[in-house]
């Protein structure tokens, strides 16, 4: 027994020390010009393009293509053609016709036809996994001829934004559409994009090679191979960049990120993102069933400090629930400021001049470093207005289960990182605040029939400015009622060696970068 205990002790010490010193293990080597190494934190949850609804988007977007892409903000056209060269919409917004590109071949040798598109969409709808719900408006899909496909909708919806979605809208080869999820998850793919999956070691390394038959061709500088190293430890990713063992990384330590441009070798690109953080208050249980208390919380939160500590300064205080740059965002909406005096006044008006006599429960996803970093600040902020708070980190799925068990006996405050599945504000507003008899995504258990009516009216408008007006009205209701504290919109940094060029950040496809456009000089 004695020696055994001693061995365990040694083992434990090693584990703690190993994590500390692992960061010294980056290797130094010059990488060839036709190869890119990407140090990424993102694991693959599934390789099935119909079911994919997570961070593997980073790789999916280079293997598969949708019918059209949404352009990054500031572009002259809202969409860019991909597998469809152009599209038309009927005046009632119900019939959408896409004209496909000719001569597109898939990695497995199949060719693109209207039937391929129909089969892909139908496979996703049939499986009903991941983001398949965004295809709900589709009534029927029709292959008019070889290169024309027509979507008929049940109700008017912005189908161009749906067809360009980052999830559930990838086109799968004729052969692939007949396979099941197991086949894909074994490391197979059936895309038409510039890069093919060559080998895959879960949570370790993914190797991609260029697809010679890619329809855009390979003139000009491109990479022959892209190697993704899955690196969970941010310090390791930074050292790989420093040593030239990686060209691109999607995360380095927050404090290093702040001073990243001081480096000789590397630089940081900051792009917009549609990700934002909010705190959702349980509007059905005391004390947050009181509007004044909720508003007081919105005044009590130190937005600037949280952005500084949690995001290393890379973010801005949110104006309403729709992030900067997304359709529906309105900069003129009211914004709460950090004003403790005002918050205390509101608490007194609400009948809590001496504070609340119950400890409220705050939950956050333990995987999320930002939420972890801001939790102590929130506790202090609420203590300042007399609301004692317990912090409880939970594995994301457990947190979600707790939310779904609510509103009684559930959390009082839940932190949530949100990003839209496709670039329309309806999805965000509907998912997070519409009346749900059985809670799902309505983390604040908010109930406002007027709000529901307003967003539904907005979604059925084909005229963008009319829709925008209604979305603004809906957001005003949320800001006034304050069921949620709109913390901050995240700016997405990406880190790269200076010689790597052509990195474009497109917030419609979070954390996905087009490798085809990149090269080294």
């Amino acid at each position: 027994m004695q020696p055994y205990i001693k061995n365990r002790k040694t083992l434990m010490t090693c584990v703690v020390l190993a994590v500390l010193f692992f960061s010294f293990s980056a290797q130094g080597a010059e990488l060839p010009k036709n190869l890119m190494v990407f140090a990424s934190t993102d694991s693959v949850t599934t390789w099935d393009p119909s079911a994919s609804y997570s961070v593997e988007l980073s790789y999916m977007a280079n293997i598969y293509e949708p019918l059209i892409w949404v352009s990054p903000p500031g572009s002259s056209k809202p969409f860019q053609p991909a597998l469809a060269e152009r599209y038309e919409v009927s005046t009632d917004g119900l019939t959408w016709t896409f004209y496909l590109r000719k001569g597109v071949t898939f990695h497995d040798g199949g060719t693109l036809s209207a039937k391929t598109v129909k089969d892909s969409f139908e496979r996703t709808m049939r499986m009903g996994k991941g983001a398949a719900f965004i295809l709900n408006p589709i009534k029927s899909i029709e292959a008019v001829d070889d290169n024309t496909v027509r979507f008929v909708l049940k109700n008017p919806a912005p189908f161009d934004r749906i067809a360009a979605s980052a999830y559930a809208a990838w086109i799968i080869s004729p052969k692939g559409a007949g396979k099941d999820r197991e086949w894909f998850d074994a490391g197979n793919e059936a895309g038409s994009g510039p890069y093919m999956l060559e080998s895959y070691k879960p949570d370790e390394e993914i190797v991609f090679k260029k697809f010679d038959g890619y329809w855009r061709g390979w003139k000009g500088p491109h990479f022959d191979r892209v190697v993704v190293k899955i690196v969970k430890e941010a310090t390791v990713a930074e050292q790989m960049l420093d040593a030239g063992a990686a060209d691109l990384a999607n995360r380095v330590p927050i404090e290093s990120s702040r001073h990243f441009n001081d480096k000789k070798c590397c630089e940081r690109i900051v792009g917009p993102s549609f990700m934002n953080y909010a705190l959702h208050l349980n509007t059905q249980v005391s004390p947050f069933d009181n509007k004044k208390v909720r508003q007081a919380v919105s005044y009590a939160v130190p937005y600037k400090d949280m952005i500084d500590v949690g995001l290393g300064g890379l973010g801005r205080q949110a104006v309403g629930p729709i992030p900067y740059g997304q359709f529906g965002h309105d900069d003129t909406l009211f914004q709460y400021t950090h004003d403790v005096e005002k918050a205390r006044e509101l608490m007194a008006e609400a009948g809590y001049p001496k504070g609340v006599d119950r400890t409220v429960l705050f939950t956050y996803a333990s995987e999320n470093a930002v939420e972890k970093a801001i939790a102590p600040l929130l506790k202090e902020a609420l203590a300042a207005i007399g609301i004692p708070m317990e912090i409880r980190p939970m594995i994301w799925s457990a947190q979600w289960d707790l939310v779904k068990s609510g509103p009684k006996g559930a959390q009082d405050i839940a932190a949530l990182l949100w990003w839209p599945t496709f670039s329309d504000p309806f999805e965000t507003l509907y998912s997070l605040w519409h009346i749900e008899e059985k809670p799902d995504w309505n983390f604040s258990y908010y109930r406002n029939p007027d709000f529901d009516k307003t967003i539904k009216a907005a979604y059925s408008k084909t005229d963008a400015s009319e829709a925008r007006k209604l979305y603004t009205k809906a957001q005003q209701m949320l800001i006034e009622d304050a069921p949620s504290v709109f913390l901050f919109d995240v700016e997405q940094p990406v880190f790269k060696r200076k010689e790597l060029k052509g990195v474009v950040v497109n917030p419609n496809y979070p954390r996905a970068y087009s490798w085809y456009d990149m090269y080294k000089d």
Binding site: M1, I5, R8, K9, M12, T13, V15, V16, L17, V19, L20, S23, E233, A234, T235, E238, Q239, P253, I254, E255, S256, D305, D308, V309, S366, A369, K372, A373, A375, P376, L377, K379, E380, I391, R392, P393, M394, I395
Partner: protein, 299 residues
């Protein structure tokens, strides 16, 4: 009669004194004990010793984020500008309290079970020991992680999770001792004069089996400090803003390349306390082991 009692008392004190001098004749053990005394003192007087007691308890101080070691902050500050030294001092409270609690739980559960199993024997013995074996079949830290994950991460659950896979070690240790001692002639004579089983167990067997338990408990304290830190490191133990060494090491990971002081000093605190417990535990064991006791005898 009176003289005899006096004599007995005197002998007891003298024996205890001799045992203590035996333990501390070894300079390495004294060093370990010194660490522990320091540790216990800081834990007891944390609010008076810590330069910034509020920050030790978790209050942020954003004006001085990530300051390097200086006269004002001898060990630097962390991501929320809190003084690392104060955090470490308050962390000592948590670590020591946790280690003491866990050791008491496992001793209070494990030792009686071992005593019963060893003394009664037969089916009771089989039942208790097979149950203990079953629990020992799981790797303890893994089992602890699973328990905390299902109960929810906080310090109390972490303590339960560490204690649960641990007590069987004491049951086994105790049982093996009891089995040898109960065959001794003095137990037989006690039984012959009609002393009850309970009294035999408590008055005659238990005291004679305690020394290996004390050694084991002291050695385990260090390991428990380490386990609590490991769970904290994984985010399954103490929750912020309370100070915990493991949590601090984990928080510092993010800053390790530039702000090395966060992880390094908190790791150092874990290292020192584990070292202290191990040295003292080893010292006690050597002093109590008759096979190596000759080393301490006077010429």
């Amino acid at each position: 009669m009176k003289e005899e009692v006096l004599n007995k008392r005197f002998r007891r004190t003298r024996d205890a004194f001799r045992a203590a001098t035996r333990v501390f004749r070894n300079p390495v053990t004294t060093f370990g004990a010194l660490i522990l005394v320091l540790l216990i003192a800081t834990a007891l007087f944390a609010p008076y010793i810590a330069p910034f007691p509020d920050q030790g308890r978790g209050l942020s101080n954003l004006e001085e984020r990530l300051a390097p070691p200086s006269l004002r902050h001898p060990l630097g500050t962390d991501n929320l500008g809190r003084d690392i030294l104060s955090r470490l001092i308050f962390g000592a409270r948590i670590s020591l309290k946790a280690a003491l609690l866990v050791v008491s739980i496992v001793v209070l559960v494990g030792v009686p079970l071992g005593l019963i199993a060893g003394y009664i024997g037969g089916k009771v013995d089989e039942f208790i020991m097979r149950f203990a074996d079953m629990i020992l079949a799981f790797p303890s830290l893994l089992l602890a992680i699973a328990i905390v994950a299902s109960l929810g991460p906080n310090l109390f659950n972490a303590l339960i999770a560490i204690s649960l896979p641990w007590w069987p070690w004491y049951t086994r240790l105790m049982r093996s001792q009891v089995v040898t001692v109960k065959e001794s002639p003095f137990i037989e004579s006690a039984r012959a004069v009609g002393v009850s089983s309970v009294r035999i167990m408590l008055r005659h067997i238990l005291p004679n089996c305690l020394s290996p338990i004390i050694v084991q408990a002291t050695l385990d304290m260090g390991y428990i400090v380490l386990s609590i830190a490991a769970l904290g490191f994984l985010g399954l133990g103490t929750q912020p803003p309370a100070a915990d060494w493991g949590v601090m090491v984990s928080d510092g990971r993010e800053f390790f390349l530039k702000q090395w002081w966060i992880s390094t000093f908190s790791g150092g605190a874990i290292f020192l306390s584990v070292l202290g417990f191990n040295l003292v535990g080893d010292g006690i064991r050597e002093a109590m082991d008759p096979k190596i006791r000759w080393r301490f005898q006077r010429n």
